[in-house]
Symmetry: C2
């Protein structure tokens, strides 16, 4: 699909005069002044920059540096990928401050200052943007570094890493040739790992790399450190618009960010020897939420080695043995930061010659279970109020809680276990193996479930990771790229499964004598790290205690009731388990499909050509419907049950094949040809706007009679057993008061007659769905004859926006996608997922106001799928609905959103 490029709307640029670059070091951070709150600072400094400023001013050991703010990145793009003179000026000023703080100069031949250059957007995008380390090295300063540290191997290893990173990241050369040179060197030396390469060989590698650079770029590798700095800064800015970063933002629905900040920071070295190391840790266990210190580190390594997952790291608890001083300091930092941020933190640290340096601090990603455990624990620890804890939970946290586990009934001993890896993200997944992202995406597009199996993942794999049900890697730890990304999505992930022998070229993986080909089934248990052959049955998990506690807090706060949509006694029971306070929508027509007997009865009704024949067919359906209602009423035990009378157009029930037609012909005695003719007659050009909903009962009032009889007889029967019952009969697709009045009058006469004849005291209500725009516009009239309204926002959205849900796939994605993603960004979200508050919402609000203007007692709810979507539920609260109703599975999300709406209310009133 082509799209028109419209003029780029200029983003807010860095105001001239305003400070653009912010120094941090020596316990002071200029960046703290850019805004009052952490959140606002992040929008200017980026997450990493804000964290560095925060840690610095909190007195933590942060190597000095400066942050180039996000507005500079916006400006960079406005100027056509150029740095402004003002930015450059401030960078140089701040560089001078760093040099002063460290007593070293960038490029100094004797004792050079080396810096890292890292990206940092307002939201974490792990591994998506570029980092360059060891900047400042050149042919001369590398010698100074070697001399000053008395460690030539360290100096040349740093230099070759810098040349590699700079050449690929800043200058766009491909990675493989230099990796090949490195491997060749190891091969020549007969060594296996990088640390085994001696200084001289590293020096030789540096020469090879520079020669390669010159061959490719036609110029010498830049020796001027300031030139290196500009190149690195621009590389970071440029990485904001790289494909992988754009894909990540699209997948994560990150739309509000304008660019990235750049952090230039004095290098510290975890790779200086055995008293050095580097690590990544979480202040609590990100998988279970336990209040234990959790992380990985590597001795004698740079940070990238841990994150990339190339070497399998050590558990943090062992650091106390290896570097006890640093470990103690780190524990103190952990406490201080949790108290400060009131949240579990994700930290990066480096120990250089036993001295601890903090390099990063941010809110840590965590598993759904951990999310609830941490929130509830922090309330108990008085770090948070209940309201703060609730406000922090997202709908996705709940969704992910319900991710499946391997059926507990399966005897694990009977399963064929392929291997056990590191349990990076819990949950289970089953699917066909894909060995690369493209294959994973292709299989998913065909509707297959996929397990992505990789040696290690990199940001290029994000699309395939998202498409997969689960991820399995041969290398890496719990903080590797695969683990971090998968955890963010709550997607089952096993890493460091080192026994896997993967051959990408042949598409085959072996473990001992077992062979797995692309397309074969695997099942992962992310909770145990086990990998099984074949497709195992998955089940919904048990709900953890912290979740139950937090949801009770939500229930205590919220004022909006939450019901579920349920069509069967089974659904109804499930709805109650999920916390539903009633049923907001029972679709009676689903009952017609249940068995062949029922299908034939409804078909008989449809092909009947006389009232008598139609009534006879309906009489066959009556006991089925009554029986279903008895089950539902019994399950709901006095909670209200809204039953919608038949809604879809009749052609949805007609036989779809010859066998069906013949069977119906046999039963009815109507010829097959006549039946086919009748079915064809039912075809509609726009069935959405056709002969359906209450229009069916206007033309065939005997259908209403049958359904109301079934409902009321069921209610009477259940009530007789001493069970409370409260049916709400709902008439769909109303567009006019008189239309509703005719049916309400008919239904009430019938229902009251049945109740009186049975000497029962059953109470019931009669109301309508508001799903046609006209009904919302005339809600004041309609409310005169309705006891309740239930907004059917699925259809209301279709009609109000003129969008057929079935067809909108052709163009709606273009409307929703941003310009950068090839769309036009007309809507912020798919209006069938999140209620279009501006348009459809306006009509809903108007409908409620008008309805209550003539009927102040009017009960109002929503039963479209929006009833289980967080932003929509909050809107429903705001406009004064009595309840929302959604699928049982989404009931907890609605409960949470309803509580959050109350909290937001209070906040806005403060």
């Amino acid at each position: 699909m082509a799209k028109k490029t419209s003029k780029k709307i200029a983003p807010k640029s860095a105001k001239s005069g305003g400070k653009r670059v912010h120094f941090f070091g020596n316990g002071k951070a200029e960046g703290m002044a850019v805004a009052k709150t952490e959140g606002e600072r992040k929008m200017i400094l980026g997450g990493k920059g804000a964290g560095l400023a925060d840690m610095t001013s909190a007195g933590l050991p942060v190597p000095p540096g400066f942050t180039i703010s996000i507005p500079c990145c916006e400006e960079y793009y406005i100027l056509g990928r150029k740095l402004s003179e003002q930015t450059k000026k401030e960078v140089l000023e701040n560089l001078a401050k760093v040099e002063a703080a460290m007593g070293k100069k960038l490029g100094d031949a004797n004792d050079p200052l080396l810096v890292s250059v890292r990206s940092g957007a307002a939201r974490s995008m792990p591994g998506m943007m570029e980092t360059i380390l060891n900047l400042g090295l050149n042919d001369k300063s590398v010698q100074g570094l070697a001399g000053k540290t008395d460690n030539p191997r360290f100096a040349y290893d740093s230099y070759r890493r810098f040349i590699q990173m700079y050449s690929t990241t800043a200058m766009g050369l491909s990675k493989e040739p230099m990796e090949d040179l490195l491997h060749a060197m190891k091969h020549k030396l007969g060594v296996k790992t990088d640390p085994e390469i001696p200084a001289e060989s590293l020096k030789e590698l540096c020469e090879q790399f520079k020669a390669f650079y010159k061959e490719k770029k036609g110029a010498d590798f830049p020796q001027n450190p300031i030139d290196q700095l500009w190149g690195a800064i621009m590389a970071v800015f440029g990485s904001w618009e790289a494909d992988k970063a754009q894909t990540y933002r699209r997948v994560e629905k990150i739309t509000e960010l304008k660019g990235t900040g750049v952090n230039v920071q004095t290098m510290v070295y975890g790779n200086k020897g055995d008293k050095s190391g580097t690590g990544v840790c979480f202040t609590r266990d990100p998988n279970t939420g336990e209040n234990t210190f959790y992380g990985d580190y590597l001795i004698n390594a740079q940070g990238e080695d841990v994150v990339a997952g190339i070497r399998t790291p050590l558990k943090l608890s062992t650091l106390d043995d290896k570097l006890p001083k640093a470990y103690k300091e780190l524990c103190a930092v952990r406490k201080q930061l949790e108290k400060h941020y009131k949240d579990m933190q994700d930290l990066e640290f480096t120990v250089e010659d036993e001295k601890l340096y903090m390099l990063q601090c941010r809110s840590g990603k965590r598993s759904p279970v951990a999310t609830f455990k941490i929130a509830v624990d922090m309330v108990n620890e008085k770090l948070l109020t209940k309201e703060e804890a609730i406000a922090r939970i997202t709908p996705e946290d709940i969704e992910r809680l319900f991710y499946p586990v391997i059926d507990p009934k399966l005897d694990r001993k009977t399963l064929t276990k392929l291997a056990t890896g590191i349990d990076a993200v819990p949950g289970a997944a089953s699917g066909r193996v894909a060995f690369n992202a493209a294959d994973a995406e292709a299989r998913a597009a065909k509707g297959e479930k996929v397990i992505l199996v990789r040696k290690e993942t990199s940001p290029e794999d994000v699309g395939g990771m998202h498409a997969a049900q689960g991820i399995l890697t041969a290398t890496g730890g719990k903080t590797s790229h695969a683990a971090v990304v998968a955890r963010g999505w709550g997607k089952c992930c096993i890493v460091g499964c080192e026994v896997l022998r993967i051959n990408y070229e042949t598409g085959v993986m072996t473990v001992g004598d077992k062979t797995v080909k692309a397309g074969d089934f695997l099942t992962l248990d992310g909770g145990t790290g086990e990998v099984f052959l074949g497709e195992l049955t998955l089940k919904a998990p048990e709900q953890p205690p912290a979740y139950q506690i937090l949801m009770k807090w939500c229930d205590a706060i919220r004022t909006l009731k939450v019901r579920a949509n349920a069509d069967t006694p089974y659904d109804a029971e499930n709805a109650i388990k999920m916390g539903a306070e009633g049923i907001g929508l029972t679709r009676t027509e689903h009952m017609f499909f249940d068995t062949e007997e029922r299908r034939l009865a409804i078909q008989e009704m449809i092909v009947a050509d006389t009232l008598v024949a139609r009534k006879a067919a309906l009489a066959k359906l009556l006991p089925f419907q009554r029986e279903d209602f008895v089950g539902i009423f019994t399950a709901m035990d006095g909670k209200p049950v809204t039953i919608r009378l038949v809604d879809p157009p009749l052609h949805e029930f007609t036989p779809k094949d010859d066998a069906g037609v013949n069977k119906l012909s046999q039963i009815t005695g109507i010829s097959a040809a006549d039946i086919r003719h009748r079915c064809e007659q039912l075809h509609e050009s726009n069935p959405m706007l056709g002969h359906r909903g209450c229009r069916l009962c206007i033309t065939y009032p005997e259908i209403l009679d049958m359904q109301v009889t079934a409902i009321i007889e069921a209610a009477i029967a259940v009530a007789k057993k001493g069970i409370k019952v409260f049916p709400e009969i709902m008439i769909p697709l109303t567009m006019d008061k008189k239309e509703l009045q005719i049916q309400v009058t008919q239904a009430r006469a019938l229902a009251d007659g049945l109740i009186k004849a049975a000497k029962s005291k059953v109470k019931y209500m009669l109301g309508t769905m508001i799903e046609v725009p006209r009904a919302a516009l005339l809600a004041d009239k309609i409310a005169e004859v309705a006891e309740f309204f239930s907004f059917g926002t699925n259809d209301l959205t279709q009609m109000t926006m003129g969008l057929s849900r079935d067809d909108a796939g052709r163009f709606l994605p273009v409307y929703v996608a941003t310009e950068k993603d090839g769309g036009v960004g007309i809507f912020k979200a798919d209006p069938f997922q999140a209620l279009d508050q501006d348009g459809v919402g306006l009509l809903v609000k108007l409908g409620i106001e008008k309805g209550r203007s003539t009927n102040p007692k009017l009960k109002v709810g929503i039963c479209g799928e929006h009833g289980g979507e967080s932003s929509s539920v909050k809107f429903c609260h705001k406009i004064g609905m009595n309840y929302v109703s959604c699928s049982p599975y989404r009931v907890p999300i609605a409960r949470l959103a309803a509580a959050q709406a109350v909290i937001a209310d209070k906040k806005s009133k403060k």
Copy 2:
């Protein structure tokens, strides 16, 4: 389709204490007091009763009598078809007044008072309800009448007529057996006409009739005149609900009436001999509107003989010779009544022994031409103001003006004329012959055009008459049943075509040696009374001068502009002829279907799978579109032309057969299979709500480029020739401000560029259709980027009401039809014909208010089919639109309605 019977809603009954029965006679009429205005009096007394009261109090010679008011009829039905005691009491009191006025007694054996009993509803329903004459005759009083008049023949003729009418009308016996007895008597006597039967034989006939009555009813024919009176009154009330009356009201859309009045009036006799007669006349010629006295009469006849059309009557102008005194009096009456009613009147009179009596006076039905001529003449005669004249015209009057005539280019000499009859209603019609109403309706239902041919028509034939294109009868005059009914509908009608020999049984008609069978084609010229064999070409007629004058008056009064929908230069020229002040809707896609070359180019665009290929196909369409626009702009000569960009979903343009697919494959080099696949891909579940309108230009912006280029290049070219040009580019199906803004920005950049490059000064506007409910709801936002709104009320109705126009036929008729007609009466009119003011109209009003709130200069119009429907146009005026646009043919109707809206405005402000 079954329908539920709902409780009958009780009509307003005659208030006890209020007067129910109203005397008139001797220059005084009690009925004048029931209400102040003629219109209100009609609602209580009925049209006939009000006319009799009016004429009586005006001093005209009206035989004394009394009117039983319409509320008594309502009461009659509420009581289960019974007369209340109060009504009976007042009838007897008033009968006594009549007896006193006449000095005679009902049933008196020597000199009996005889009365007629006639129906009279508030609106004329000619021939639909019952009349009984000569009531009061019995075996004794007939002798008294014979003695008193010294005319036994007259007395027994009157008695036998009374027995016939009473037996059939009041007692429900069938007509044929008594007609057979009458024929048998004539046969026995060897005479041909009724007047030739001598008194003795008539007396014998009376005995035969009474014997027949006794045989059938098991009782003697009622001899008590009071019993006769009750029977007759109940017969009239009962006739209100007779099938034929209900059919007539449905056809005429009469819904507001509650029942009929009954007029009991002293009999006067046109059948007393050669100095007596009876007639029906119009104060002006109802066909041409000429200010001449016009009518028919028969000497020695009763009124029913004239109306039934059994005897062919004489022209009124000859009455001066036969009964000069009565004629002079009648001419005076004519003048007096026209002055009084300020309208052409339809009169019934009887001359008894040279004395004139007036029996009825009502506003006369007239041809469309006459409608305009009379209205304009009366303004010139100072009887009416221009505003009164305009207010009196109906949309149907205009529609009927445009009924066809036989193509004037046909040489009449070459046509095969079958016969010439009386030119009862002008206009021409062509169709297949049907000899009975059922056949006419059946053929029409199949889509055939029908000419109904009958010896004479009766109220039972109304359904078939309505279904037919034209009506031809062998008997009857211009005031016969066929002529009056057809004239009311403006339907071509020829009566009194006595040469026709029709055999109903064989379904064959002969004229001399020519034979016409049922199903053969006939063409009628209602203007000349000629009947031609075969199907002749019909053409639109010339517009009469009075019509032109009246429309100019409308134009001077109205404030709402009227435009036309036109897609071609031909349409545009026609629109101007019809008085359009611009084009409100040019559908550009219609241009794509025009030639194979164009069709192929658009198809090529659709199957193109690259932007380049799509642009190449569009480039082929560009010159065609430009050429069309040049034609339209030239025709409109500076009047605004609103051009809608492509609107329908692309699948409407795809090839529909193998030949089309192959041709397209040949041109594009794309395989036929691929083309078919692409076409199938375009299928939509609900195309109305699919990928269409401006959604196409959001996904394919190059289509917008092509269309805007064609429009602006055409405008520049036309402007260069010195012709003024004002295009308004209209973007359809907008649902969001940003969506519109993207396209407006794109179009404006392109258009301004073209205009600047051509150094032209062409002005244009950019606006949108409001047809999606969301657009109306967010009109304040959308108006910020639109210069005009055009409400597309066809689609807006579909979406607001959730009604697919293509599918609504299954149930909408039930919604619109009244309960009596098997419907439920939810809507007063089909919302696709007359704008649903309550619902859709509310949204339109809201849209205008919101739109003007942010853009006070916003130009607002309507371009749905409602723009040519009278009540909708008046609504558009009321809510402040700038213009309406409709099909050229309906432009005059919109002009009239717009003027009437202003007049109604002024009236309501008084």
